[in-house]
């Protein structure tokens, strides 16, 4: 049953999240189809000076391999890429990442806005952006740039969010295609997966 009327033209999924998004991410990772046909690129707010442990924590129940990419690493489908601690993660034209130590944005490095905006610039209308629970406005501008370039935008339903500042910021800045709870986001990703079969 197709609820979202999707197609197989997308090149990547990008996810932003902060306070209160960890459980949602874990749930998504545990139910997402293995061999997912796109790369998933995630910028999640995290402790700046703790380099280790996050990938391991997310990996426990994940069906996908989780990678903190190195600078200039190529982007491959079926991998969940996580912005490393204390670096901003950007996507370059040519399908690879680059890292930077520029100033914090919204008091955050990694910044969700930076990852979302650079990914939108690289993939234009072939991008799906998902913004989850969070306690500050980081990500709002990034969602706007995805929408402005013709990409598809989803925010976690503020009712379900532990802290809803982040999705609400996006909702106030741009038009969001779908407001979904985590179960529905998983349903969306499964339906997306079907389009590539």
């Amino acid at each position: 049953m197709n609820k979202f009327n999707l197609n197989s033209g997308y090149k990547a999924v990008v996810i932003g999240g902060s306070a209160g998004s960890f459980q949602g991410i874990i749930k998504i990772l545990s139910q997402i189809p293995p061999e997912f046909p796109l790369p998933i690129i995630a910028a999640l707010h995290r402790l700046k000076h703790v380099r280790h442990g996050f990938v391991e924590a997310l990996s426990i129940k994940s069906t996908l391999k989780i990678v903190e990419p190195e600078d200039k690493e190529s982007i491959r489908k079926g991998i969940f890429y996580l912005a490393p601690a204390n670096y901003h993660l950007s996507v370059e034209l040519g399908n690879y990442f680059s890292l930077s130590t520029e100033d914090m944005v919204h008091n955050s490095r990694p910044s969700i806005d930076i990852t979302l905006s650079s990914t939108a610039y690289a993939y234009r209308n072939k991008l799906i952006g998902i913004l989850l629970s969070g306690a500050n406005r980081d990500g709002g501008e990034g969602m706007k740039s995805i929408k402005d370039k013709g990409g598809l935008t989803i925010v976690q339903d503020p009712i379900e969010c532990m802290i809803d500042t982040m999705p609400k910021a996006a909702l106030s800045l741009t038009s969001i295609d779908y407001t979904l709870n985590i179960e529905q986001i998983i349903g969306f990703l499964k339906e997306l997966n079907q389009q590539y079969k």
């Binding site: 000076h49 380099r51 990419p69 600078d71 200039k72 670096y87 890292l99 130590t101 520029e102 650079s118």
Partner: protein, 274 residues
């Protein structure tokens, strides 16, 4: 965030800066370069066109432009595990063959890693046996590095890193507070030569036992990273060490097989072939 800067304007800016001032940003990583340029336009309230005009007509502006363009976010003892590795393995490794040795901080920015290095060397009783060259493209930031003066606000993270580095003292013992700033003791820079040097166009200028270039090459594309690694190779003694940022890689570079990995986690390499 402002709308995307026009790619043609970006090209023109890079061209002016190259032909008129001799700085080559053509092989910088596009995403961060574009963000920096947009930030400059925002800060100055200029359009791309107006910035090109300003660069063409006001030669004195170039220093400020470089200062705004280059990323100068750095910490003392960033990645404390890396600094412990230096103290416990790398420096002792160098000392096996040399009583005196030379270090190059390539892209030293405001000098936090130079200060960190000398605090460490001082605590090891080695500061008088080491010569340090610290270079950067940006003359403005080199002046800041020479002043060794930092905002107190930044000292909190520096102090935390120093504690995790397990230094012998407290960081406070190395600076005094003056007008709301942390002013590091001048003897921490007595063995340091600061000089302007461009990694892109500059030639190798000396030979070193250890080169630190952490989180600098992330701003370059792969073509340029490849060229810079050749320069580092030429600037290292055989069996000298190269340290890059913990999330950087040289594995795909032409010269990568002239190095071996000493520590994969902290990204320290050793030159084994000329």
């Amino acid at each position: 965030m402002t709308p995307d800067i026009d790619i043609l304007d970006l090209k023109k800016i890079t061209e002016v800066v190259h032909t008129k001032y001799g700085y080559d940003f053509r092989d910088y990583a596009m995403s961060s370069f574009k963000r920096r340029m947009q930030r400059i336009l925002e800060l100055k309230g200029l359009t791309g066109e107006a910035l090109i005009k300003k660069l063409n007509e006001q030669p004195a502006y170039i220093e400020e432009f470089l200062d705004d363009l280059t990323v100068n976010v750095t910490e003392m003892f960033r990645d404390p595990g890396f600094w412990r590795l230096l103290r416990e393995e790398i420096i002792p490794g160098i000392l096996l063959n040399n009583k005196e040795f030379k270090i190059w901080h390539a892209g030293c920015s405001s000098g936090e890693e130079v200060i960190s290095m000398n605090i460490m060397l001082k605590e090891m009783g080695l500061i008088d046996h080491v010569t340090i060259y610290a270079t950067d493209l940006d003359p403005g930031i080199l002046e800041k590095a020479k002043a060794a003066t930092y905002s107190l606000k930044n000292m909190e993270i520096n102090e935390k890193n120093y504690i995790r580095f397990q230094g012998k003292k407290t960081l406070k013992e190395y600076y005094k507070e003056e007008n709301g700033k942390a002013v590091f003791h001048k003897d921490l820079l007595k063995n340091v030569t600061f000089r302007k040097h461009d990694l892109v166009l500059g030639e190798a200028f000396n030979k070193f036992d250890l080169i630190l270039c952490r989180n600098v090459m992330i701003y370059f594309n792969q073509t340029l990273q490849n060229e810079v690694l050749k320069k580092f190779h030429g600037s290292l003694f055989k069996y000298g060490y190269l340290a890059i940022g913990t999330k950087e890689s040289i594995i795909w570079c032409e010269y990568s097989n002239r190095f071996i990995v000493v520590n994969q986690e902290e990204k320290v390499f050793k030159k084994i072939k000329d």
